[in-house]
Symmetry: C2
Subunit: 435 residues, 2 copies
């Protein structure tokens, strides 16, 4: 048997400690699978004395991640520090430049520097693996990169942030407000004290950008993602969605269009019958539409120490077996620049909730603004539901479902309706994503 | 760029023709992904003159699959002939012995000869890949073999036969009888003229045996699968299941138990809230319970030319990239013999439907037979539902749900109830599979 494969692990938080634990627990099986013994030979973390519940007695301690990454004592560098720049970036660059394969769970790093790091890995003939960066324990990176090699992918979309799905699921199930569910998520440790990164959709956007590159063979471009968070979602929207046969989910959606590649993160209406709509709580799910396989959905844990560590260890095992996948499936020279499709050209159905002053002619005037732009309505409902979260006194909710229309046209119709003076609040609109 | 990778393809049915089409359609992307041009250089099929809608002008024709498998004109042998023995087996053996990697979709072949063929591949340092053999386009083999390398798997179960799931879905949705749905499936081409292999559960058993070997690192043993088909399922069962919060699915289930590995195929009650229960029609789904990743579900097309070809092409692409995975994840010398857990020791909840003579004391006597064996009942319902498929005149249906009990104990209770003379028909019982 060849010499052991020596892992240098930077970052010993929940995921890092779980990686050490899994490598230990599965040592015999991993040796059998990879024909190599895998050992954590060096680590870096802020506090060497903290008890992490794992045995690191045989590992060499480094105070500096970059020094660890460069060390001749390691064969593979595992980056679990986090952050798009700083030590995580410097250490990964150092490791790749030193000819060491890297495994990372860092979506922010990849979203910002993925292409450059993939080039660096390629130049040095090493792997840059990041299964854990998207949807935690769900093997979606491997599926896109290897499992669907014979397909042309048309769309990839999913629930990529457990915090948002937890909040939306509780709002829907228990009829609670967004604020109440956010507080509950914070109390349970599902949401950070500053939840902006999750609920604002930015975490989902980073993950979506990675999936887009893998699915469409394009250069990663997280800046091109149109991002909207779940803060604007009201219980009234979830209740109306339910009545109309939909669920509201924070979806990341990437798809090929005649105008380029559309990448968007937003609260979205998914038909209740779709696989994605069934996914409740902190679970993640990704659906892929491809020409040969038609539709494939993966559902599993999007976060958590052991689930994320499972993905990190799978990457390590592949590298141990000698597999050197191209980070984004194709050589970086073959990754085309991403041509973003303008969201104004988005074509689809919409859910629209308006808070109209309760006076004669309001609904008719609103409907006219849609009709004059040839926006066909699948349904229009004007009524106050008993016990529903209401608008100001003297107003009535109007809920519309449109047939496919361009986003630009819809926005113009809504602006015209606002200008007419019949609306008491900013209109709410949510895209409908069909299976 | 190295010389083209030459594929020898035996079997040009729906899947074979789709493989040729996909390799052609994705030629540029596959070359970029694998750094090799992939070409179908030789083929074997019964009728060389049949129009299959694909261009095979440049491929050399072989009248004999074994001669093709041995031919120096090919680098990889793709077996799509089918059948556990005969030309499929001979050709795969010939190819592996000649040092050629093999790709196959043939579950029957693997179920019967998988271990021996894996040894032969290992001895010759080549790959034996079979993603297409289980759940068609769903990358479940890759997920178990590579994606969950850091996990210890406790259970793998799923819907692995589209024909059965189509029949059960239609029975449930439209209130049709088993026979009517089978006829409809045959008319639509979802079921064979002789449907025994599908509806008898044997197809699922072959696929399950493959998953068991991959999941638990044991020698494949399809003979050890306890198999029951869906022929015995009545509309009354689906209706009762619906009322009780379940759906009936033909599940293949493999799990570790203290008594060995349990492998069973049978109509099974899945809670409606489970991911598996949502899967309707010809779609397949597999759920894996593992220690690190907890629960992972893959849902996608289990059959169809292009979906199955997608899996075949992914295997070819891996081989083209130089990856030589061990067929069952571990070296064959490390695959432990499978110790089957006797089904009599199965511990779980049961659904029981009895057709009792409608006379005083019947329900009480039946309940006593359960009570004296310490079988606790979660529910007992004795009533005729309006419009339900009934038993003979003068009888009433009794539906019981038990808490966890041993199968042996349940069978004894049912035998005692039969002996008491209160039952007009053979008792129906269905295992309940919890998430």
């Amino acid at each position: 048997m060849p010499a052991p494969l020596r892992i240098g692990l930077a970052g010993l938080g929940t995921v890092g400690a779980s990686v050490v634990r899994l490598l230990d627990r599965q040592a015999a099986a991993l040796t059998a699978r990879t024909a190599r013994r895998i050992e954590v030979s060096a680590v870096n973390a802020r506090d060497p004395n903290k008890d992490r519940g794992v045995d690191l007695a045989r590992a060499k301690w480094f105070g500096d991640a970059v020094a660890l990454a460069r060390s001749p004592d390691i064969d593979i560098f595992v980056e679990l520090i986090g952050g798009a720049d700083g030590p995580a970036l410097e250490a990964v660059e150092a490791a790749l430049s030193a000819g060491k394969s890297c495994v990372t769970a860092n979506k922010a790093l990849l979203a910002k520097h993925g292409l450059r790091l993939a080039r660096l890995a390629e130049e040095n003939g090493v792997a840059l693996s990041f299964e854990a960066s998207v949807a935690g324990g769900v093997p979606i990176v491997k599926t896109l990169r290897e499992g669907l090699a014979g397909n042309s992918i048309e769309r990839v979309y999913g629930i990529l942030n457990g915090t948002c799905n937890y909040i939306l699921s509780r709002m829907e199930r228990e009829g609670l407000s967004f604020d109440a569910c956010l507080k509950e998520a914070q109390r349970l440790g599902y949401a950070e004290a500053d939840p902006t990164f999750d609920i604002g959709g930015f975490d989902t956007a980073h993950k979506l950008a990675i999936l887009t590159s893998l699915a469409f063979g394009v250069q990663i471009d997280a800046e091109a993602v149109d991002v909207e968070g779940i803060q604007s979602i009201r219980l009234a929207d979830l209740e109306a969605a339910d009545e109309l046969g939909y669920r509201v989910k924070l979806l990341g959606v990437a798809r090929r269009t005649p105008d380029g590649i559309e990448q968007r993160v937003a609260p979205t209406m998914a038909p209740k019958s779709s696989a994605i709509a069934q996914v409740m709580g902190v679970t993640n799910a990704v659906t892929i539409d491809a020409d040969a396989v038609h539709e494939l959905t993966l559902v599993g844990p999007g976060a958590g120490g052991e689930a994320t560590a499972s993905a990190v260890v799978a990457d390590i095992a592949d590298i141990a077996r000698g597999v050197r996948s191209k980070p984004f499936g194709l050589p970086t020279s073959e990754l085309a620049p991403l041509e973003p499709a303008p969201m104004q050209l988005h074509l689809g159905g919409y859910y629209v909730r308006l808070c109209a002053y309760d006076r004669p002619g309001a609904a008719a005037a609103i409907a006219a603004r849609f009709a004059e732009r040839d926006i066909s309505l699948e349904s229009i409902v004007q009524r106050r539901r008993p016990g529903a979260e209401g608008g100001p006194p003297g107003t009535a909710p109007v809920v519309l479902i449109t047939y496919a229309t361009h986003e630009k046209t819809l926005r113009e119709a809504l602006e015209a309706a606002v200008a007419d003076g019949f609306l008491a609040e900013k209109p709410q609109f949510i895209r409908i994503e069909r299976e």
